[in-house]
Amino acid sequence: MSDIQTNISAADVNHVDGHPGKVILRTEGLTKHYGGVHALVDCDFEIRKGEHVAIMGDNGAGKSTFVRQITAVEQKTSGKIWFDGAYRDFGGPLEAREAGIETVFQNLALADHLDVPDNLFLGREKVLFNLGPFSILDYKGMREATLRGLEKTGVKIPNINNTIQYMSGGQRQCVAIARTATFHSKLTIMDEPTAALGVQETAQVENIIRTLKEQGEPLILISHNMRQVMELCDRIVVWRRGRVCANLNVAETTGEEVVAYITGAKTQAQYSSAA
């Protein structure tokens, strides 16, 4: 694999959109086929430290597929991924998480009958002694780390030792988001975090996103909510039929223009293959 660039120092110098941070994630030619369905075709994408990037597009445009490839929930058909300065080929979701990619999935991925710390540490529990599968859990350590994570994101939950099954949608979403803060992730991905939430709960989640922005945490936000994207993000990347068709600075675009790209009325010159 000698053709693979093992570091992205060259990209650091080349500030394409004027954002000063170093590149945290870059994909090149990322492609995913499900049998004959080309769900994702030749996607080049880049996000820098401190940057909040929105991914928009119609249903089936490839947004969630893109996320599933970079988080290794599915294995990509082809393409290259650099993360945190190195070429990476994650074998599974746990590897991606351990590298620092933290995802808030559309369907939350929480276990109803477990409490807040258990959910935060699901799949990578803190242990006191390592005895393989029978390792002894470090409940105290997980509880303390959970409190720090909740405090960092400003999430308020009545009792973190209750199971989450009767929590409101907003509280559950906050638990899912707090997971990212607890693990000092290098990149947070949120897949429609407010799609199922009420007005107040949406505001609560948006506040957490602002908190992440203040702390310089990079974020990929998948959303259909134009107001939300315009308010919270620096850049919008538009997907259409599995391809990227636009890369827009929020400051230099309008909602109407974004809609034109989503619907296919417009395509940026550099992405002419997606037209």
Binding site: V73, G92, P93, L94, R97, F105, N107, L108, A109, L110, A111, D112, H113, L114, D118, L122, G123, R124, E125, V127, L131, P133, F134, S135, I136, L137, Y139, L147, L150, E151, G154, V155, K156, I157, P158, N159, I160, N161, N162, T163, Y166, Q200, A203, Q204, N207
Partner: protein
């Protein structure tokens, strides 16, 4: 949007908002059922169910009855500890009873004596091979291995072929019963060595049940294995996305259930001093019933070993209570069936009520 709902450091720990442990309800049910037998006994026969009323016998309680109550549920209780884990992952194990028979037949045939009162025991399965009077460790290890293998086969089918656990373990239920008959062409296996007979002698089954219950209580509550068991039953997709190896874990859980069934077979055949291909009939259903009465949700993810132990005790109290009230065995079965269904309905009702309260 007010600051009360969103603010840094606004974390509270209101003890009143803590969930009630589901075991509390099961414990209350146990007390109520015991009290009901006590009252009925005094009303109908003027006898006490629980307390010692006999002349010339020391002690507050009727210890003999208490011993019987726990002794008669301890062997199925051991199976139930494994079944509990399987149900916690959202699965089911119908093979336990047949695996008990298969394991007991095979293990017992390696534990037979060479001669009975000086007469050669020529009906011993391996008499001709000379495999008689073997050290007890051998049949014990064989029992554990056979149980474990049956569990591994169950687990492999459930985890790697994607067929429903109901079907996979139903297949094992039929196949293991066949294997139990095939092993000796239907002949019972008897006359174990003294050391083998000691495994299930006296109150040993209770000691083994209690010991294993404590062990698995600790494992489920304090180890990664336990946490993942609950997580898979609660939300399998979430567990997978969190990086838990769901397949491997299911394999382990079914293997564990098989191992516990093997232990139960060892204790049962030792206690009975014989193994027959028809033994352990319907044990799987009793074991599932104990777990369900103890509050283990058949949907998975909810319940505990403590609940199962309480469920087993309720089971024992009911059987003893009916005998105490001189009720026919036919009624016992009918009432047992009603209680199982009743326990699930009650549990659902309780769940809905909690959901509304929140």
């Amino acid at each position: 949007m007010s600051d009360t709902a969103h603010g840094i450091g606004g974390l509270t720990f209101d003890a009143s908002k803590r969930d009630w442990p589901p075991e509390a309800g099961v414990a209350i049910a146990l007390v109520l059922i015991t009290a009901a037998f006590e009252i009925l006994g005094r009303m109908l026969y003027g006898e006490s169910f629980l307390f010692n009323t006999r002349e010339g016998v020391e002690g507050l309680f009727n210890t003999q009855r208490l011993q019987v109550i726990i002794l008669q549920v301890s062997i199925i209780g051991i199976i139930s500890l494994g079944v509990t884990q399987v149900i916690l992952t959202g699965g089911i194990d119908l093979s336990s009873g047949s695996v008990v028979a298969m394991t007991a037949m095979i293990a017992m045939s390696f534990a037979q004596v060479g001669d009975i009162n000086g007469i050669p025991n020529s009906r011993a399965v391996f008499f001709d091979s000379g495999w008689v009077n073997l050290p007890v460790i051998l049949p014990v290890l064989i029992a554990l291995a056979v149980g474990l293998c049956a569990g591994l086969v169950n687990g492999a089918f459930v985890a790697y072929t994607g067929i429903p656990p109901f079907i996979a373990t139903l297949g094992m239920m039929v196949a293991a019963r066949g294997a139990a008959q095939w092993w000796t062409a239907g002949q019972p296996v008897s006359f174990p060595t003294e050391s083998y007979a000691a495994i299930g002698g006296g109150m040993m089954p209770v000691a083994i049940f209690v010991g294993l219950a404590i062990l698995f209580h600790l494992i489920l509550k304090y180890t990664v294995y336990g946490k993942h068991t609950y997580a898979i039953g609660s939300n399998e997709a979430a567990a997978r996305m969190s990086g838990i190896n769901v397949r491997r874990h299911k394999l382990m859980v079914y293997a564990m259930a098989g191992l516990l069934t093997g232990i139960a077979a060892l204790v049962l055949s030792s206690k009975n001093l014989t193994a027959q291909s028809g033994m352990g009939l319907m044990y799987e259903l009793d074991a599932i019933a104990m777990a369900v009465i103890g509050g283990i949700s058949l949907q998975g993810g909810r319940g505990s070993v403590l609940g199962t132990v309480l469920g087993a005790l309720i089971f024992g109290v009911i059987i003893s209570g009916f005998t105490f009230l001189k009720l026919d065995a036919y009624y016992q079965e009918m009432v047992k069936g009603t209680i199982i269904v009743g326990a699930v309905i009650l549990d659902q009702w309780r769940q809905n009520r909690v959901a509304k309260k929140m």
